[in-house]
Symmetry: C2
Subunit: 152 residues, 2 copies
């Protein structure tokens, strides 16, 4: 089983810790996990694991977008906390046409709703977990743990 | 040898990855390292290492401030990217009266200068490494690596 996890731009402090958490959780569930991110987001994740204990598999987001085909992955996960991240998730979701999960969060509840609408209006069948969160990662972690249980 | 590392509030996305990096580096240098942070900053660091590989030793910042005495630590390190973090660093620095290193960073160069001035005007003998950085952690990492070499 293969999973692809998309990171958004790195402004939000919760994304990097949650990326390691999600990578580790999916790996323990038996997934071969790839994290796709832009250069700054990749660096943040790499520095989080200086000894390489988690064997994080990080790839460039744009290059990945140019290479993927339908059903290349069994699961798509995405951190959605910006317009650009919502568009990116929708694009990958449409190409891969696989089981997918969007973790939508923002410090602003209106933005949360906006991003959820963007995904829904694309016709995506993604499971959407949405929550108001910024520098406390716990609400995102709780939502992810709950959603991923249903995929087990 | 004991080292205390202070985290500021968790808004900046570089702080959590750099906290793990600094903890790991100082541990490898032989320090018994403690990270002091507020509850949200602590949670972010914990979630970064879900398997506990790094054996991160996290304590509450305010409680630590109430308990420490001069020379309790051989090295004080601090992430300074807010007014509050600069004041906090200065306070710990004055109480501990030990070797100290401030990592000052902000996306705004004026703020960087302001925080450096706050530390210098306190009469601190801290080594100050200051750099413009926000979501790319590399400049902070480079500055830290360079400064810590002088402490080896």
């Amino acid at each position: 089983m293969k999973a692809l996890v998309l990171l958004g731009c790195p402004e939000t402090p919760s994304q990097t810790p949650m990326a390691v958490y999600v990578f580790n959780k999916l790996t323990k569930m038996g997934y071969d996990v790839t994290i796709a991110a832009n250069p700054a987001a990749k660096k943040l994740v790499s520095i989080s694991d200086p000894e390489g204990y988690y064997k994080l598999n990080l790839v460039d987001l744009e290059r990945t977008l140019g290479e993927i085909n339908e059903k290349d992955y069994d699961l798509l996960g995405g951190f959605v906390h910006k317009d650009a991240a919502a568009s990116c998730f929708v694009t990958f979701d449409q190409i891969l046409n696989t089981k997918s999960l969007a973790l939508v969060f923002s410090r602003d509840m209106d933005e949360v709703e906006e991003f959820v609408n963007m995904i829904e209006e694309s016709g995506s069948n993604a499971k959407i977990q949405a929550v108001r969160a910024f520098h406390n990662p716990s609400p995102i972690k709780v939502k992810f743990d709950k959603a991923i249980k249903e995929f087990e």
